[in-house]
């Protein structure tokens, strides 16, 4: 399906949010169900998947948090975080 650049970025951001949501849900679940092997396994997989999707997003659209390493293109581009467009405006 051909999405415009904006829709594509929105779609990837939505996937990042979805993966993070699953991690939060499973973390809360494993807090109350500590000795369930499948839940713990699914929780670990969810964390890996979320990190992977986040890395994909960041490679294309720049760092999402202070802790993420900016890609080479971001550095060449002279990534200046305090200029428009702000993350919520893109």
């Amino acid at each position: 399906m051909n999405l415009s650049a904006f829709e594509e970025e929105r779609e990837m951001m939505l996937r990042v949010q979805e993966a993070d949501f699953v991690v939060v849900e499973l973390t809360l679940y494993t807090n109350t169900h500590p000795d369930e092997p499948e839940a713990l396994e699914q929780w670990r997989e969810a964390i890996k998947k979320a990190a992977q999707i986040r890395r994909q997003y960041e490679n294309r659209y720049g760092p999402l948090s202070l802790l993420s390493i900016p890609s080479e293109e971001a550095i060449e581009m002279g990534w200046r975080w305090n200029q428009a467009p702000w993350p919520w405006q893109r």
């Binding site: 939505l14 949010q17 979805e18 993966a19 949501f21 699953v22 849900e25 499973l26 679940y29 109350t32 169900h33 369930e36 499948e38 839940a39």
Partner: protein, 68 residues
């Protein structure tokens, strides 16, 4: 998932326009003491939309309903 409403007392001295009927919802987790293991799960996208990974706990309350 239980819906309910009640009529709060309205006094002439109330500072703001009164809310005649206040609606509320009692989501399923209230009636469960402990979540059973291996409940059926939904896809991540769906989970983000309904607010939980397990449809059994979802209460399908939506903003349009304007539950206060």
């Amino acid at each position: 998932m239980y819906r309910g409403s009640y009529r709060p007392y309205v006094s002439p001295l109330d500072p703001c326009p009164p809310m005649r009927v206040k609606k509320f919802v009692l989501p399923p987790p209230i009636f469960m003491d402990f979540q059973p293991p291996d409940l059926e799960q939904v896809s991540p996208r769906e989970a983000l939309m309904i607010g939980t990974l397990w449809p059994l706990l979802a209460d399908e309350f939506y903003r349009e309903e304007g539950i206060s």
